[in-house]
């Protein structure tokens, strides 16, 4: 299949450049791994260029809104205009667009292929549309300064600075912010680093007025040379590891961490067809397996792509308006006021990182750098349907002879990627166990005994 895929790829790329509708040379998109697969996963989108940063924090808080509280260290005091409430749908779109995906191919009749190769001609694949995818006195005693206080959307927001972490901790506790034991040392570290605290609660009155049933993502915009994500508060007193998805939108290229390994997930692997119905389980177990292989210390690259296109598309690329909603300030929308218009040549590169972290393996905050790498990458897994025709040309005979080997290889790939039991996989695939014990040794084959 690969042999004819390359010319088709070239041809398809030619079509794309010519301006016609591009075919999906990376296979037909059939499914994606939702971020909801992972329990208690947080999602953060960071748009950054020239030290200017916009952070969008997804809010999937499920409990009573009056119980909600958020404490985030920020590098600067934020003005009201620097805080915004975003749209959860846009973040969901970004997550869908960049999700790990499953694609499928259908083998062609090998006899036809043989003829085609003899004639040295080929057909392009059919084009495929992308799938739709308190009082001030008390504050002073505690050494707390409320630098600013705003109500933005359904949130009441405070920007706090403090002299001592103990005072800050007391203040937060007195104001019903649940601070885990042991957070004091981390708070102190952030204070010494000159950071402020962004604290948010839900204003129930405003929420009722707005008629909202869910909490929208909070966004903050600031200018700072620090390209980092504070995760240490999250590791204090956490039950087990935390799951985090980070979407980084930059102008020039892929983003990676400078203080931890950024690892590409295995991609373009051929797996058995039954994974189609169990893609969620497959991806979750694959991720766990990779985390173990990296000794729980790495971040994983799930997607790195120029925002102008995708192939195959797990969801349509985001529009210029959606990107601006996520903080892509350097991209001026074209045809403003005329609805969604894709500007020509958007300069936005998306990096999607997935990390499972805990205090033992991630002692320091995540530090990032933008690189000049604009190579596309996607966590993509392939289903290959065998040709089931009855032709009897020599190529078909060879093809059929090779099929069991190919299926066995797919089974082993699946076992290696996910850690699933190879015998269970073979059973599900209706493959015979490998008769290793019956295999003849080299000397038996040599002398025929």
């Amino acid at each position: 299949m690969r042999r004819w895929l390359v010319p088709v790829l070239t041809f398809t790329a030619g079509l794309f450049l010519w301006g016609g509708e591009a075919s999906a040379f990376c296979g037909f998109y059939v499914g994606r791994a939702d971020t909801k697969l992972f329990n208690t996963a947080s999602e953060v989108a960071i748009a950054r260029h020239d030290d200017k940063t916009v952070i969008t924090m997804a809010n999937d808080f499920k409990g009573d809104a009056k119980e909600f509280a958020l404490v985030v260290p920020v590098p600067t005091i934020l003005q009201k205009e620097q805080i915004h409430v975003g749209d959860a749908a846009v973040l969901r779109h970004l997550a869908d667009y960049s999700a790990p995906r499953l694609v499928e191919y259908f083998d062609e009749n090998p006899c036809l292929r043989e003829e085609l190769m003899e004639r040295r001609s080929m057909d392009a694949m059919k084009s495929m549309a992308p799938a739709a995818a308190s009082p001030r006195g008390r504050d002073k005693t505690l050494g707390i300064t409320i630098e600013a206080q705003y109500t933005v959307g359904e949130y009441d927001i405070l920007i706090l600075s403090a002299k001592e972490s103990a005072g800050l901790e007391t203040w937060l506790t007195e104001h019903d912010y649940t601070i885990p034991n042991g957070a004091s040392q981390v708070l102190q570290s952030y204070l010494k680093q000159g950071m402020k605290f962004f604290v948010a609660k839900v204003n129930l009155g405003e929420q009722a007025k707005l008629g909202l049933t869910h909490l929208r993502p909070l966004q903050i915009a600031f200018e700072s040379p620090k390209f980092m994500l504070p995760i240490r508060l999250g590791t204090v007193n956490a039950d087990g590891a935390q799951e985090l998805f980070i979407y980084l939108l930059t102008k020039h290229g892929r983003v990676e961490t400078t203080n931890y390994r950024t690892v590409r997930l295995p991609e373009a692997q051929e797996v058995p067809l039954y994974v189609k119905d169990r893609f969620g389980d497959f991806y979750r177990d694959l991720f766990t397996q990779q985390v173990t292989r990296e000794h729980e210390r790495g971040l994983f690259l799930e997607y790195a792509w120029d925002m102008n296109w995708c192939d195959p598309c797990a969801a349509n690329p985001l529009s210029a308006e959606e990107l601006r909603a996520l903080g892509v300030f350097w991209q001026e929308p074209q045809g403003r006021g005329r609805g969604e218009v894709f500007p020509q040549g958007q300069r936005v590169f998306l990096t999607r990182l997935h990390v499972r972290y805990n205090a033992a393996h991630f002692p320091a905050d995540l530090m990032f750098q933008e690189t000049a790498d604009r190579t596309n990458f996607q966590a993509r897994y392939i289903l290959r349907h065998a040709w089931t025709g009855t032709d009897a040309c020599s190529a078909a005979v060879t093809y059929r002879r090779q099929l069991p080997e190919r299926h066995e290889h797919e089974a082993q790939t699946l076992a290696s990627l996910t850690g699933w039991n190879i015998e269970d996989i073979r059973r599900t695939m209706h493959l015979a166990s490998r008769p290793i014990e019956h295999e003849k040794t080299w000397y038996q084959r040599l002398w025929g005994n």
């Binding site: 040392q185 102190q188 570290s189 010494k192 680093q193 700072s224 040379p225 620090k226 390209f227 980092m228 020039h252 990676e256 961490t257 400078t258 203080n259 931890y260 390994r261 950024t262 690892v263 590409r264 990296e294 000794h295 210390r297 790495g298 002692p363 320091a364 530090m367 750098q369 690189t371 000049a372 790498d373 604009r374 190579t375």
Partner: protein
């Protein structure tokens, strides 16, 4: 390993072999490990182009300057360091970096010294122009620890004369990291984690230790190591930029003549060259030198 250039005449080699071979072997092993197991984002083509360009540049410059023999060892060490550190998707950038590294040894000179360590200069140019980047986080603990042991071993095996600057830098830089952690109240796991950086090791053992760019006296070199460590600390915690030691070294390069004037020492002497020989022209020796004096080495 550039510090090997500092091998004094009394210990030019160990067991009759050039000690730089030891360093080429350790760098090559590390590159192979990174390439095969850690999946360093460096292509085989980039490795070939980098090493090839470095050797060609060294050869061409040897002929141009009229040196008696082509010596590939230093060019190999510089290019292997570049392969380990520089990341780019463009082979032209890899070639340009290797060319800048090797040609800088011949172009930017002051008395008997290079102004810049070749690898450092090439990396700084590529980072500043945005053509390339360094991935300091890609090492992992196993590779880091193995490499650290190999580097320390190389100091022992080769009895490198410039080990002082390496050890002083590592000591001061660790001090800066620990002092900062104590000041902000961080646990010591954080500075230890910050030290676990392969690029830092290459920097300490292969770049800052270059005898052709470090002060002549031991006191001068230790002062120099302190300056670089403090500058690196400022870049890391004041400016919040990655690859802090590299920028620290580039900035402190200008201090070397001042430190040499303040703390003079016996100038580093290549094996085989008379210490009393007249110094070569300062800059662009190819253009200014009317005739070829006695043999010199530029590695």
């Amino acid at each position: 390993m550039e510090q090997i250039h500092g091998t004094s005449r009394s210990t030019p080699s160990v067991g009759g072999t050039d000690p730089r071979l030891y360093q080429i072997v350790s760098l090559s092993t590390l590159l192979t490990y990174g390439f095969v197991w850690l999946h360093f984002e460096v292509s085989f083509a980039q490795i070939v182009v980098t090493i090839g360009t470095a050797l060609l540049t060294q050869y061409a410059a040897t002929r141009l300057v009229g040196l008696p023999a082509f010596d590939p060892t230093s060019a190999l060490i510089s290019s292997l360091s570049l392969c380990l550190l520089l990341r780019t998707n463009d082979l032209t950038v890899a070639a340009l970096a290797a060319f800048i590294a090797i040609s800088s040894k011949f172009l930017f000179r002051r008395h008997h010294k290079h102004l810049f360590n070749p690898t450092t200069l090439a990396l700084a140019v590529m980072l500043a122009t945005g053509f390339g980047w360094i991935s300091p986080g890609q090492w992992g603990q196993v590779a880091w620890f193995g490499f650290f042991v190999a580097c320390l071993g190389s100091l022992v095996v080769t009895r490198a004369a410039r080990a002082d600057v390496t050890l002083a830098f590592l000591l001061f830089y660790t001090g800066v990291l620990i002092a900062r952690a104590l000041w902000v109240g961080d646990p010591l796991t954080i500075p230890l984690h910050q030290l676990e950086n392969g690029a830092l090791l290459i920097f300490a053992f292969f770049m800052i230790s270059d005898p052709k760019t470090t002060p002549d006296s031991r006191a001068g070199r230790i002062t120099y190591a302190l300056c670089v460590a403090l500058a690196a600390g400022y870049v890391q915690f004041g400016l919040f930029r990655p690859n802090a030691p590299l920028w620290g070294l580039i900035v402190c390069t200008s201090l070397v003549p001042l430190i040499d004037a303040w703390l003079p020492g016996r100038e580093y002497d290549w094996p085989g060259r008379s210490p009393d020989s007249a110094p070569p022209p300062a800059l662009l020796p190819v253009l200014h030198r009317p005739s070829i004096p006695q043999p010199r080495r530029f590695s």
